[in-house]
């Protein structure tokens, strides 16, 4: 009763159009039903070693945080003279600065149009402000309990790791927030150090390792992947070594973490790809593939 009897349909072919009255009932199911269904058309095939290589960004960032904490611990314990750290930091910054330009032969600098004078100015601003504020930093958290400061620093460093721009295109990524959280943590930790010079050097070091070092890393990764792998390994081992000198258990845990991130996780990613069943069809929301920001910039 729901529709007219299906007569003379042999001649008339069903069409997937709505604007014509067709001699089929409304709930007619044609052979062509779901013929446009596709599965896994956007599924990517991953290569194991490529994924391991990509995971090195995470490893690097974890190591950065680890190195920072280790250095702070040394400073706090008085095992590391601030002058020495300052000297090393300055030297490595200069080396990094030269490397930064050497790797791509000054292309990036030309593209961004940033002058050396601007770099110098930024460096001056960093140093002046940090030096000027270091006595304030020293007394800033006097009345706040050490545990509070530690908890805050841990949260901030975790936030730094979460929001860091690892190259994924997700809404949660915010490199600004990530960097700010790292600086906040470093200021908190620096205020626990015995003297204002310590605080100054600690904050400077934080800028070097959280702001400048990732920039160099990114360039290294893009230009010379091999040396990047070497640097990553070196960095990871030095972080592990530093941690080992403080706590053996911590070092073992950290090593396990690094291994699981760089080896186990890629393995699981590739294994789980086999179970992927993604349905696509004309009902999918279309993706805008072009870069539309060019119209606005």
């Amino acid at each position: 009763m729901c529709a007219q009897p299906v007569t003379n349909t042999k001649e008339v072919r069903w069409q997937k159009v709505l604007y014509e009255r067709q001699p089929f009932p409304d709930n007619y199911v044609d052979r062509r039903f779901l013929e446009e269904l596709r599965k896994n058309i956007y599924a990517r095939k991953y290569q194991y070693w490529a994924v391991v290589f990509e995971s090195s960004v995470v490893v690097q960032q974890l190591c950065s945080v680890c190195v920072f904490v280790v250095i702070w611990w040394y400073m706090d314990e008085g095992l590391l003279a601030p002058h020495w750290l300052f000297g090393t930091g300055l030297a490595s910054s200069l080396i990094g600065y030269v490397l930064f330009d050497l790797i791509d032969g000054g292309e990036g600098r030309k593209k961004s149009g940033r002058t050396r004078w601007a770099d110098l100015k930024s460096a001056l601003v960093f140093i002046t402000f940090t030096y000027g504020f270091s006595p304030v930093l020293k007394t800033l958290t006097e009345s706040v309990s050490t545990d509070t400061i530690y908890a805050m620093s841990v949260f901030m460093l975790l936030g730094h790791l979460i929001f860091f721009d690892y190259g994924a295109n997700a809404a949660i990524v915010s490199s600004t927030l990530s960097l700010n959280m790292a600086i906040f943590a470093s200021v908190c930790l620096a205020s626990r150090l015995p003297r204002s010079l310590h605080a100054f050097i600690m904050v400077t070091f934080a800028i070097q390792i959280f702001a400048l070092w990732p920039m160099l890393q990114k360039k290294l990764k893009a230009r010379t992947p091999r040396s990047y792998v070497g640097v990553t390994l070196l960095f990871a081992f030095s972080a592990l070594g530093g941690l080992l000198s403080i706590s053996v258990v911590g070092a073992i845990l950290f090593a396990l973490l690094l291994i699981s991130i760089s080896c186990l996780c890629p393995f699981y990613l590739i294994r789980l790809q086999l179970f992927k069943e993604n349905i696509h069809g004309p009902w999918d929301e279309a993706e805008i593939k072009e870069d539309l920001s060019r119209f606005l910039s």
Binding site: M1, C2, A3, K16, V17, L18, Y19, P25, D26, N27, V29, F33, L34, E36, L37, N278, I279, H280, G281, P282, W283, D284, E285, A286, E287, I288, K289, E290, L292, F295, L296
Partner: protein, 485 residues
Amino acid sequence: MACRGRGGPGQPPSAALSPVSPGSLSASRTSAHNICMVSDFFYPNMGGVESHIYQLSQCLIERGHKVIVVTHAYGTRKGIRYLTNGLKVYYLPLKVMYNQSTATTLFHSLPLLRYIFVRERVTIIHSHSSFSAMAHDALFHAKTMGLQTVFTDHSLFGFADVSSVLTNKLLTVSLCDTNHIICVSFTSKENTVLRAALNPEIVSVIPNAVDPTDFTPDPFRRHDSIITVIVVSRLVYRKGTDLLSGIIPELCQKYPDLHFIIGGEGPKRIILEEVRERYQLHDRVRLLGALEHKDVRNVLVQGHIFLNTSLTEAFCMAIVEAASCGLQVVSTRVGGIPEVLPESLIILCEPSVKSLCEGLEKAIFQLRSGMLPAPEDIHNIVKTFYTWRNVAERTEKVYDRVAEEAVLPMDQRLDRLISHCGPVTGYIFALLAVFNFLFLVLLRWIIPDSIIDVAVDATGPRGTWTHQHPHSEDKVEDSGKCKTR
């Protein structure tokens, strides 16, 4: 068939007593149903679902059925209201959670809905929109109460992300024992069948409609010295406003006589404003802001070309309205759009700036060379495509079919839930269904069905509404026009 009684267990006595005019009865060959439309989206909210419910209800009333609408309270609009032809609307005091959709606990609405269903002697529950929590609640309660259920899906969903996985699961549960499902396009049908794991036989395709008398061309309103492109949509990501922001500078640089009129409001308006500022197109790109439905026609007739940049669309009413106004339509080829208009009336493009620009250039070329048919001709073609009377007729067939089906008894319903919805979800919802049933038993014990007042039927040609005002006869005849509020 015609003697099959009128509707369900009891007809409102007032309607039964009232003399039936033979003329109005002859219009409906089949039995009359007592239909309850349930959705969170209804007037005063505006949109496709809202106007669909309203127009369908009006045409069903015209065909002799009793129709009521149940929605949630909108601000001060609460309680019971009557619209044209005595269409009774219940605005229930339920909390709105997000985007005009009510919060659901699956149980809290049962007392109210049961009271309404009993008091209105409803036989068929027709829920609308998968975004509406209330619609799903009503389906759930209706099945508990043993009423026939119909569901209309107005939207498309993907399968890619986590949220869609969850919503699709819920839809599976909600539709697993619904008697019949209506989709607005074939693409929408495929989508719904996949999402809810349905038998395609119980899914009908009944397109939306537009009122062609509301969208008539007016060639004198447009300036032929320039070319005007009209865009009417909400300015959100899903409607492809980002694409539009790329098209505008591209084409405006190429064609100095090209103008854009953009109607609608939304969070993406800002990027259009930025584009306009950046390329200094203030005199050529007009942003009208939010449009009332009645103003849409006046905007449409000012243009030559209608541009639709949607990224997903089940059935695009906007392009039908635009074509009905005699505009050349350029649209993205997404969702059900290719089914809506014949090739001669629409230029379909891929959802990218490049392809859309090419489509628009093609339309501009046709316009300049005079290859486009006259607006009146387009209107005359389009007006035969989609009418609400046709929609109501086809929906009525669905009701007739559903009325003959048996509602699954409780044990079978539980079996079906468990077997159809997967082990975990199935058992959870079977348990919830049992709770719901117990709750219903409790409610029936507190207030038995027999002591609930029967509502006076005010709708349609047989309603008391018309009999108390005999001079409004012509109004009833006129209801076929189904004027939007």
